[in-house]
Point group: C2
Chain length 438, copies 2
């Protein structure tokens, strides 16, 4: 039956082309990103299509905690889910490294019906394969559910999904290496800026707080993830140039004379000079200018370059607002920290005098009080009672300012209570968490 054999192998060939085409397309897509969240999402989407399944999931193995974990898109963010690595069919594959091809999950004792119960989904056929990296280590499992055309997944499906899982493993490993490297960079930036601030109890935590305020403003302004990343690094590094200012002047107790003040001001130019020597990655090349312009003022009265208006990078203008806010809510060698009402008035005044950008001050005032308190508390989250924080969550800085400007006027009992509680929290944050208490 040569005729028949020829025909059969022709169909085989067709299927092989289809499989290769599918695998090729998936691989092409996987190469397209090094962002882990994006990648995991892409793998799931493409594999569901190619495997003609109804759903897929990918779980990575955390060998240390012996858990499987996954990221699930939740609007624009990703949420992490975790469970013990011996749970369910995915757990069985993660533990044994063997492929499981189950026509009806409910006939298999290992199947964990909890997910179906929680989501109202009805799982039937399941194909679950291990993801193995180049070194032969099992790094995760991919699971496809409910084959669309047939009753169950067949041998060819097993083969195809295994090949795809191998590719997914390679892509995930590359992405992890890349993200690991990114994390290493930013953790070094963070650690160094913290260590530098910590030389003087008065400035301890300054860069970190300025960064958190700046990121909060960025969020109100609708910055993208990437923009926030750049702003984060720029803000953490804004005072790096203080390494070029002698400690005897930088940490001097009491008022500075003119000459000393000029030397302190050189830190902004030092920041620029130091940061310009660093190789920043694509998309982050403006960090030196962003960092170094946090003392520039819109009217050109600032330093180190005396830039005017839009010539100051936007991030520099954002950091300027945060930097002023942190400076006046903190004690300095030559003055005590300010009353909160005065702090807000100073921001308004600077904005009115065309020193700092009104829009960014407005964005800052759009933040809720609890956000500010969380930053002021630093790691010391016990300082302010939870019930107070709940109250603070409902009030923005701007609204609060209206209240306290009105304090002499007709406030309700609740409003008076809020004002008292916030004043108390503000004081406690300074006396408790920071070593600059008097």
């Amino acid at each position: 039956m040569p005729e028949d054999e020829q025909k059969r192998s022709y169909e085989e060939l067709e299927r092989e082309v289809a499989r290769y085409r599918a695998a090729y397309e998936v691989m092409r897509a996987l190469g397209g990103t090094l962002d882990l969240d994006e990648l995991l999402d892409l793998i799931i989407t493409r594999i569901t299509e190619v495997m003609e399944a109804d759903r897929s999931s990918l779980f990575l193995i955390d060998w240390e905690s012996e858990e499987l974990w996954s990221k699930v898109a939740q609007g624009v963010r990703f949420m992490e889910i975790r469970f013990p690595m011996d749970l369910g069919l995915a757990g069985a594959v993660a533990t044994s490294g063997e492929i499981l091809n189950i026509p009806d999950a409910y006939n298999d004792q290992r199947f964990n019906q909890d997910f179906d119960r929680q989501t109202g989904y009805r799982t039937k056929s399941v194909l679950c394969v291990p993801m193995t990296n180049k070194e032969g280590e099992r790094i995760g499992v991919i699971q496809v559910l409910n084959k669309k055309s047939d009753d169950a997944f067949d041998d060819e499906d097993e083969e195809l999904l295994s090949a795809l899982a191998g590719q997914a493993a390679v892509a995930v490993e590359n992405s992890r290496l890349y993200e690991d490297q990114k994390k290493s960079f930013i953790s070094f930036v963070e650690t160094l800026s913290t260590a530098m601030d910590a030389r003087d109890p008065i400035t301890a935590g300054h860069s970190s707080r300025v960064t958190l305020y700046s990121l909060a403003i960025g969020e109100v302004l609708g910055y993208s993830e990437k923009q926030l990343e750049v702003l984060n690094a720029a803000a953490l590094l804004h005072d790096i140039g203080k390494i070029g200012v002698p400690e005897v002047i930088l940490f001097k107790d009491g008022q500075l004379n003119d000459e000393e003040y000029k030397i302190i001001q050189t830190h902004a130019l030092h920041s620029l000079n130091i940061l310009e020597k660093i190789h920043f990655v694509r998309g982050q090349k403006d960090i030196p200018m962003m960092s170094a312009t946090h003392h520039e003022r819109l009217d050109g009265s600032g330093y180190p370059l005396g830039l005017i208006g839009d010539d100051i990078p936007e991030a520099g203008r954002v950091i300027a607002v945060s930097d002023i806010f942190d400076a006046i809510t903190s004690r300095r060698h030559y003055r005590d920290r300010m009353e909160f009402i005065k702090v807000l008035r100073i921001l308004d005044e600077e904005s009115r005098k065309n020193q700092i950008q009104p829009e960014f001050v407005s964005a800052f005032k759009n933040l809720s009080l609890d956000r500010i308190v969380k930053i002021l508390e630093e790691d010391n989250t016990e300082l302010v009672p939870g019930e107070d924080m709940e109250l603070f969550a409902a009030v923005t800085l701007g609204e609060f300012q209206q209240l306290i400007e009105n304090e002499e006027g007709d406030l309700s009992a609740d409003e008076r209570d809020l004002v008292e509680r916030f004043k108390c929290a503000y004081d406690r944050c300074h006396d408790g968490s920071r070593t600059d208490g008097n």
Copy 2:
């Protein structure tokens, strides 16, 4: 002729399977590494195979300098070659973005015969396609030479090579993003350690020199590229903990009292504490301990932990040798720098007393004099005449030590001349390039 049509499409199908299989295999290989050198090598090798060509090359476009560049394996290292981006067939494709398929290169005016002339190769058929990234930017070209089976490359070859070039572009971009991130990290480390050392003219350049000595020792010890990378970061960071020592003590002129000396010594523990907060990537997790143990001694008499022998990480033991060498060849606040003969004797003595590792001192003494002078000169390469450097290249530190230990004895005129020239270079490096002159 349905029979015929069936047969034709069957063969087409076979070719399609073959093409997909080839593309799939190349893509699989490309996913396997983020190291750019390795990747470029891999692309060339795989594409030559798949395209049944005799040779291939890949050129990346440097849009800034308007050049094409490539890396060519040269033993275990890679050498960069560059030429103007309008040169030859590769240049034509880089400039126009169009595919060139030439049956006989010598009939095409754009073909640059120089390479053939230099290498004795005889190019005939050439297929050259652009590499375009996801954003549609041209990033390079791939060129395959001398189709093996046929006279020239055909339409299907064009199609396949274009697909492969697209994949290669994606892989190269990923690899570049990764390498860019790595470069950013190490440049930050370098810049920060340099800025910290520069606070005091006496220590300016110290971390950088210690790093260069350590890498030189690592090379003598046969360290791999990866090991050298880790050693590089660890050495650059060894004194990072000095940020935790007040400048008034750190830069004090004259002898330190016991208490001050103890405070200075805390820098090693500070290095450990700071570095442990940093997220280091896989393979670099030991950097904190490597950096922080540069004052540990084999007999347990060192600090901060009093570790003994092999409990001190090897990199820490290497950095210890470099750190001692740099300290005694430099001026300090409390003493002048030492005569070179005394420097070498101190290394021997410390090694004899079981303080530092004899093997690493030996490795260090295996370095040629010019290597040491280059490090001492720093950026000031004019300090020592080229003819002297040539002499120095032929003599190791160890051989030189024998000479000077023998100085009173029977040296030849040439040997006496060498000793004089080196002493002179050693002095000039200190008086000229460094601001610590006396």
